[in-house]
């Protein structure tokens, strides 16, 4: 597609249920990022994928959070046994990371519209 697509756009769930959030990056973008944004707050880094490997998982807040990526395509963020403090907008972004002689260049991030999660 033309942009980063996230689904569902809104999800209301009960405490203790599992949820899956999906991100379709821009075709050809090798780098993919997940962020969490609580109401009225800034962006909190969760995890970064380069291809289908995750060099940096340092932002995942607990072992209830996990993410996968299939090749250089779709990524799924899974939250198990949801808690009320998990309520937030989960944003996905992708970028065209290019290899240069100096390493890997991280291009401009393109964000999706986010998935708003409400845990009752």
């Amino acid at each position: 597609g033309a942009g980063v697509s996230q689904s569902p756009s809104n999800k209301v769930t009960e405490k203790g249920k599992d949820v899956e959030l999906r991100c379709d990056p821009i075709s050809g973008h090798t780098a993919l990022y997940w962020y969490r944004q609580r109401l009225g707050q800034g962006l909190e880094f969760l995890i970064y994928f380069q291809g289908n490997s995750a060099p940096d998982k340092s932002g995942l807040p607990s072992d209830r959070f996990s993410a996968e990526r299939t090749g250089e395509s779709v990524s799924t963020l899974t939250i198990q046994r949801t808690q009320q403090e998990d309520s937030a907008v989960y944003l996905c972004a992708s970028s065209l990371a290019m290899r240069t002689s100096g390493g890997v260049y991280t291009g401009e991030l393109f964000f999706g519209e986010g998935s708003r999660l409400t845990v009752l």
């Binding site: 980063v4 009225g40 707050q41 962006l43 940096d56 991280t106 986010g114």
Partner: protein, 115 residues
Amino acid sequence: GESVGLHLPTLSVQEGDNSIINCAYSNSASDYFIWYKQESGKGPQFIIDIRSNMDKRQGQRVTVLLNKTVKHLSLQIAATQPGDSAVYFCAEIPGRYSSASKIIFGSGTRLSIRP
């Protein structure tokens, strides 16, 4: 996870005036900076970027200034319009040519336009 935001500060500006949004960054080794605009209910959108070998860069109605001495970044918006109402985030990349990158976002500033 790394939390970079508290409750957002707000800048209120008269329509037509210039806006200046400030950001302090954390890592003196960061060499690439980006400003993002986030409108209500949408994801952040790229506005303008600057590399650490520059201290000023201009776009259409926007100018970014970088002061590496005090680790400060600012975004200037000329002739502010109602459509500029949004939350503005600065982001630093600790090493543009690094094998693993983690974009670090500032806490964000809400820009409110008075008619």
